[in-house]
Symmetry: C2
Subunit: 276 residues, 2 copies
């Protein structure tokens, strides 16, 4: 593993690291914020999964999360959103290929060779983190934005007992019923309905939901509202009696200004679960 950069930040260290991923069959880069407390032993960790077009860097520099994580003594992980590089398949559209991994394992050509983001964030990166850094694998929570909100919700629901809490900012909540989802599932996963359903937060919610607290924020002025379908997830959460809160935030859109505005609430929410 290679250290790309380390900056002192909020009393801790904001690092960027590159490693060879066996799962994605290419080099992968991620950001990791370690609070000052990590010098004394393993700390809890909050995953932040990013949205379409993002690298490991966007949330790391624009979400304002380190301030609150430092206050709570929590590490933050910022994975990339797809495999990358010259030998990696891509598409001209912003919402397919590099920058648009959708947190699935592709089964279809030309994507299957590298696009295995589900296994990457589920298995390979967590193992690397707990082997290498002062991170406590018994205290993990997960959040994300847009496509990353989709990733956070599906990851949390499909790994019962792993995450103590889950939250999302404007998640793609029902991809099997949206043009943010159907197109990508066609390309990556093909026609198999069961495989597709296993990557849809609303459908997973209907099958049992998440075994912990859930927080969803959604801006009322989100320019992608119709693609996100929060109403489908809201319905499923209520029907499932899911322990959770979904907040419709008046006037807010899909940007990082929306994320940074409510980041304190999310980190505080996860801290309560991580230190319970």
């Amino acid at each position: 593993m290679e250290t790309v950069s380390e900056n002192r930040a909020f009393g801790g260290v904001q690092g960027v690291y590159r490693h060879t991923s066996a799962v994605c069959n290419c080099d992968m880069t991620f950001g990791l914020f370690l609070p000052a407390e990590a010098a004394d032993g393993p700390v809890p960790v909050l995953w932040f999964l990013s949205g379409l077009t993002c690298t490991h860097e966007n949330a790391m520099t624009k979400a304002g999360a380190q301030s609150w994580a430092a206050e709570q003594g929590i590490a933050l992980v910022f994975p990339d959103t797809s495999p990358r590089g010259e030998g990696v398949a891509n598409d001209e559209a912003y919402d397919l290929g590099q920058g648009a991994g959708f947190y699935v394992n592709a089964t279809q050509a030309p994507w299957a060779e590298h696009f295995r983001m589900w296994d990457y964030v589920s298995d390979e990166l967590p193992a690397l983190l707990s082997d290498t850094f002062a991170i406590d694998p018994e205290r993990q929570s997960v959040t994300g934005h847009s496509m990353g909100g989709h990733g956070a919700l599906t990851l949390a629901m499909r790994h019962p007992g792993r995450f103590r809490s889950v939250s999302a900012f404007a998640p793609i909540a029902n991809p099997t019923a949206s043009d943010w989802g159907r197109k990508q599932f066609d390309a990556y996963l093909g026609a198999d309905e069961a495989t597709r359903a296993a990557h849809d937060a609303t459908l997973l919610m209907r099958q049992g939901g998440f075994d912990g607290p859930m927080l969803i924020d959604q801006g009322t002025e989100d320019q992608f509202f119709d693609l996100l379908r929060p109403q489908a997830l809201a319905e499923a959460m209520a029907a499932q009696r899911q322990d959770g809160v979904l907040r419709m935030q008046k006037g807010y859109d899909h940007s990082y200004f929306f994320i940074s505005t409510f980041m304190e609430d999310h980190v505080t929410f996860h801290a309560e679960a991580l230190y319970a």
Copy 2:
């Protein structure tokens, strides 16, 4: 004036606006955060002047200032760092031409036609802001980073009575004695010593300093430490008995992680002066 974008953020609005600048003889873009209180009448304003290579956008998205400004009911202005566009002179180096206006009025060809950032941030943009937005020109403070710290300090010292407080993150503190300064002053200002001295915070400090409180933060691991020459300003501040604090922050570098770590302190510092 044209609205480029407006995003709800921290209960207020983060806007980006474009206007035709008579001073710079081209279109100029700036960011403006207005807190919720601006709906009820003019609010105090804190200027943030950015560093080399930055546009209006870098600090607006990475400095984390809106959170604290909203808490204090203060507006934030994020000007660009130079004139820009096809007809505007430029240089291949990152530290000259577009993105590197150095907050001076160029007197030398080919720069004199557009590079008049001193008049732009001193006169034209302040007038536009107080004419157009709910901003109180009687309550202004100024801060900045690196080249923008230089701009903030020189602006504050050369406009006595205008700014209630000034601060800077890792400012270019003594440009007449640095390769970050001499090169640009040669190009923009020519050889005239008096003109150059009027844009050097250390020299201005020696001639009287600032008529209000001053806060300077400087990271000990700043990779540009030798170019910034904080020791020259520190000496001049002490010699002048300047009301102010200069903090050497152990382990911090020149990045936005350094800025965002201490932004709360700076906004709180200015708020005390703005609401005194």
